[in-house]
């Protein structure tokens, strides 16, 4: 056997940059301002970049299944070649730019999550592509910027990649309208698909068949990240602001006016053609009038429609906060005009904060059977933990108001420190048989903790239980000190027949055969403070009324009649959104 070679480590050099700056499109090639096509310079973590580009998290593989073509890898490791380009056609014609754009926006989106959570975010791809073992966790997600000729783009866990289609434009040819529409050149589409991948890494069970809310959550959440992250770039927001004056009068700064100008402007930027990949999320959501009956209405039962409620609530709350931030600048009488630059800056600040809140909430959300009230409660709790005082800009107040305006209320927890938050655990848990240091990172140690405390945590004793993740996240507290939290997820799975449901206090759907085999899922998240004490236990019960609701929903949607597994569910979901279609699985045999 050959002896392992020993090499002397290269000396550390401080000349190695930590940040890479790349030019990407502000929205897509059709968005232009006085200076030409709207591009932005984004800052992403610098990494060793092989041709592809290929880094530690993404690998751009330019392969086209429609024409059975593989392209040479693009090399963008050197100086940014597109800094000064203002001509959209040059960018569209450059395959290297396509690669740079899709890599840059994917890295930027991933960066939003990692910054908000204070840790690396894993993928949930198997990573078994070489030996087909498929039992590990892949580190590198592939991106195919020209995967196929189709008006679709999606994340596929099974195929371990983000796949972007292209299609011919239907618009008349002009200098500004390219012949082919590339979905990889849309910031919104790339950020949306990357968000699906990241969310899947954090909560792999959110793609399981479950409640209507869970099916809608993935799509709505990916829209929220894509839309709010657009506000990071002032040039994009300026272009959306349909007012070229340097000073904005106070009459133009109302929620309704901002909705009609900035949100509508951004929606227009998403474009008719690229927007058709999965509909125009912003246009649809911004136009939903408040109505507390919507959450329970038939109209919003379909996942692709239901997700729009989530987007509408968050985007409207964001507008409310934005205005709240501008109020002190309008003078005592509230009538002073504000510099446009400042209005845009405050918008970016508000969007950044709401985006961070939306992402942090994921750590406080149950790992299975998520519903919108759970998510709202997680949003409020996660924010309260970092910013107990909400009085200045009233972020949480705005969220409660706007979710409520569509009929979504937080979970009522009797002992919560603030209305709408999760309650601290009522029953004491034992730490005596655990080791704190090991508990911060070790799955078996975490399972041990769950096992020891299964009574106070009220776990089902017969269910198969496992711990999919233990994460340590670090946040900066208001006093400038770092705050550490340990987030432990556990999942419970119980296989039963319909006839056994009654003893679990679950009602079987009408018409279901007693011999029908079913799998029930439960689980929770344990949030431990920096001393390892349990702060919150957010659980989704494997028995009880919530399971009844879940089974009813799956039964009504024909899940038990349908063996077909939606292995590429986002592809289907996007098509349903693009077509505005309704499925009637309950009418099938």
């Amino acid at each position: 056997m050959a002896r392992a070679r020993s090499r002397r480590a290269a000396p550390v050099t401080f000349a190695e940059p930590r940040i890479r700056t790349l030019t990407v499109l502000g929205q897509d090639p059709s968005l232009a301002d006085r200076d030409g096509v709207v591009t932005v310079r984004i800052e992403i973590p610098c990494e060793r970049l092989a041709p592809g580009p290929q880094g530690a998290r993404f690998h751009v593989v330019d392969c086209d299944a429609s024409t059975q073509t593989l392209y040479r890898p693009a090399n963008i490791a050197g100086p940014d070649a597109f800094v000064t380009v203002t001509d959209a056609e040059r960018l569209v014609a450059s395959r290297a730019f396509h690669a740079q754009n899709v890599y840059g926006i994917a890295m930027e989106t991933l960066g939003c999550f990692e910054k908000a959570l204070g840790r690396r975010v894993p993928w949930s791809i198997p990573g078994g592509s070489l030996d087909h073992a498929g039992n590990g966790r892949g580190h590198v997600l592939k991106i195919a910027p020209h995967a196929f000729s189709a008006a679709n783009a999606y994340y596929s866990r099974r195929d371990e990649g983000l796949l972007f289609g292209y299609f011919p434009s239907q618009a008349r040819q002009s200098a500004r309208s390219p012949k082919t529409i590339f979905t990889c050149l849309s910031r919104d589409v790339v950020a949306h698909e990357t968000s699906h991948a990241v969310l899947d890494g954090l909560h792999p069970r959110y793609t399981d068949p479950s409640s209507r809310d869970q099916a809608a959550f993935h799509e709505g959440f990916a829209d929220i990240v894509a839309l709010l992250s657009a506000f990071r770039h002032e040039r994009v927001v300026k272009a959306a602001f349909q007012d070229e004056r340097d000073w904005i009068s106070s009459t133009a700064l109302t929620a309704e006016r901002l909705r009609r100008t900035v949100l509508a402007g951004l929606a227009e930027q998403l474009g008719d053609e690229l927007g058709q990949v999965r509909g125009n999320p912003l246009r649809s959501s911004a136009s939903i009038e408040p109505n507390p009956g919507l959450y329970r209405s038939d109209e919003y039962r379909q996942p692709h429609k239901r997700g729009e409620l989530l987007v509408a609530a968050v985007m409207n709350a964001f507008l409310g906060v934005w205005l709240q931030r501008l109020r002190p600048l309008q003078g005592k009488d509230g009538k002073q005009a504000i510099a446009r630059e400042r209005v845009v800056e405050e918008g970016a600040e508000a969007a950044g904060h709401v985006l961070t809140m939306a992402i942090r909430a994921l750590d406080y959300a149950p790992p299975v059977d998520l519903d919108f009230p759970d998510y709202l409660t997680a949003l409020l709790t996660a924010d309260h933990e970092v910013y107990p005082d909400d009085s200045k800009y009233e972020y949480r107040k705005a969220l409660v108001k706007w979710f409520g305006s569509y009929g979504i209320s937080p979970v009522q927890s009797p002992n919560s420190p603030e209305p709408g938050m999760w309650s601290p655990p009522t029953r004491p848990v034992s730490y005596r048989r655990n080791h704190f240091e090991s508990l911060t990172h070790n799955l078996d140690e975490a399972f041990h903790f769950v096992w020891e405390n299964r009574d106070p945590l009220e776990l089902h004793s017969e269910a198969f239980t496992y711990v999919p993740s233990v994460n340590r996240c670090v946040r900066v507290d208001r006093d400038g000190f770092t705050v550490q939290e340990i987030i432990i997820q556990y999942v419970q799975i119980l296989g039963v027949q319909a006839r056994e449901l009654r003893r679990l206090n679950v009602r079987a759907p009408e018409g279901m055969a007693p011999s029908q085999n079913l799998t029930l899922y439960g689980g929770g998240v344990l949030v431990l403070d920096e001393f390892g004490r349990l702060k919150f236990h957010v659980g989704s019960d494997i028995k009880g009324p919530s399971q009844t609701e879940r089974l009813q929903c799956l039964w009504a949607h024909g899940y038990f009649q349908e063996k077909r597994q939606a292995q590429r569910r986002f592809a289907e979901l996007h098509r349903a959104r693009a077509m505005g279609s309704t499925r009637f699985l309950e009418e099938g045999w």
């Binding site: 593989v61 593989l70 995967a147 000729s149 008006a151």
Partner: protein, 428 residues
């Protein structure tokens, strides 16, 4: 003068394999009137001769004595209209049917050729024009998708895999515009383009029979039953136009987007992913073409013939999206409740006999045999559409079990070798 009334009807269910062909012969005192409902197949019965459709056409000519009074082409799928195709020699089944000179040809409103001419114009100006015209333009896009899928089934067999390729070819072929048959239908006598609630055009040739058109709904009719108006008037149709363009541009041209950058070898590290992308694309096309198949099924004409107390229901391949409008109206629900004979939708597929909205309405269902028991006609062939592993096989076993249990079922699966048709007689 008393209105003539038929005393009975004889329905011939022909053995076309995977397809539909029904000849309805209404017996009037001293006279018969013949209406042909569909004539097509994408796979003849397993042991049938290759010229099965020709044999059927000749039989229809013989039974009708050289005269058809009405012809219904429920929708454009090949398994419903391929028998109307002609050839240069004038010896094809479609030539024989044409010679029977039907007095009226009934088709869905989506086939109106006058509108279609304008629709081509509408394709170029997407933002304007009536929804109907845009819908018709989209039909062209649908055919493009089907053609691309069919081509992909052949050219990309290695990339997408055998099973997917086979399904692509089969569904694609069914949806490809059958130009010869379509032209033949367009050239036959007077035509009636119908929608839910309109006259059928058959009233004149079938006196004493009320004919209710229950589908397809127009786009405006569909809008009336939606809880919320579609944000984009025609999201659905735009989708097909776009997909038509996308699939054909890549497959027909097959050219690389960036020819100067093409790699000559696939490095080992990328082979798995490249193969995977092929399978992704196959699935993408298959899902598209399946959606297309469903959409085209939903342009089916749904006819309910009412004579005396008897009602005969011929819904083509309509699925719930088509049925939804008709079923939203109580008077139609009442009419359907008394159905005497039901032609099983879409060859017994899982979603063409709406399980909760339509099937429970039929009050003549019964587990015991009786004179009033519901009659059902099923024209189908196994192993051609869908898969048992995915609960999508046609005919769907659960539906078949229900049909056998609660109706008197005539199924072409039970025909003997070389049996051309079976007769069902309903007395009024």
């Amino acid at each position: 003068m008393a209105v003539k009334k038929p005393v009975s009807v004889t329905i011939r269910t022909y053995a076309v394999g995977f397809g539909d062909c029904f000849l309805l012969s209404f017996q009037y005192p001293g006279q018969e009137k013949h209406v042909l409902v569909d004539f097509g197949s994408t796979a003849v019965p397993k042991d049938a001769p290759k010229n099965q459709l020709l044999l059927i056409a000749k039989d229809i000519a013989a039974v009708t004595g050289g005269k058809l009074h009405g012809l219904v082409a429920t929708h454009r799928h090949a398994d419903h209209i391929s028998g109307f195709a002609t050839n240069a020699k004038g010896t094809a089944p479609g030539d024989i049917i044409r010679a029977l000179k039907p007095d009226v040809v009934v088709q869905p409103w989506t086939e109106d050729p006058k509108a279609q001419q304008k629709a081509k114009k509408a394709t170029q100006t997407v933002q304007s024009g009536p929804a109907k015209l845009r819908a018709l333009a989209a039909l062209e896009g649908m055919h493009e998708v089907a053609r691309a899928a069919e081509a992909a089934g052949k050219s990309l067999r290695e990339v997408v895999g055998e099973q997917v390729a086979g399904q692509l070819s089969f569904i694609g072929e069914d949806n490809v515009k059958n130009l010869s048959a379509v032209k033949n239908l367009m050239g036959m006598s007077k035509r009636a383009y119908v929608n839910a609630g309109s006259k059928s055009g058959l009233e004149r040739v079938l006196p004493g029979v009320k004919i209710h058109v229950l589908g397809p709904p127009t786009l405006e009719q569909t809008e009336t039953i939606k809880q919320q108006r579609s944000r984009d008037d025609d999201e659905f149709w735009q989708f097909w136009r776009r997909q038509g363009l996308a699939t054909t541009s890549a497959l027909s041209q097959g050219k690389a987007l960036f020819p100067r950058d093409v790699a000559t070898v696939t490095p080992p590290s990328l082979r798995w992913f490249r193969k995977r992308l092929g399978s992704v694309y196959g699935d993408e096309l298959l899902q598209l073409v399946t959606m297309l198949d469903n959409a085209m099924n939903n342009t089916s004409v749904i006819l309910l013939f009412e004579a005396g107390t008897k009602r005969l229901l011929f819904p083509g391949d309509a699925q719930i999206e088509n049925w939804e409008y008709a079923l939203s109206q109580p008077k139609n629900q009442k009419l359907l409740a008394g159905t005497t004979l039901y032609k099983v939708g879409h060859h017994g597929s899982l979603n063409a006999t709406p399980k909760n909205l339509l099937w429970p309405l039929f009050k003549n269902k019964s587990k015991t045999k009786s004179a009033k028991r519901l009659l059902t006609l099923l024209s189908t062939r196994e192993d051609k559409h869908g898969h048992i592993e995915t609960d999508t096989e046609v005919p769907r076993s659960t539906l078949l079990k229900e049909l056998k249990s609660k109706s008197t079922l005539l199924s072409t699966l039970d025909y003997r070798k070389n049996e051309l048709c079976r007769l069902t007689v309903v007395k009024f």
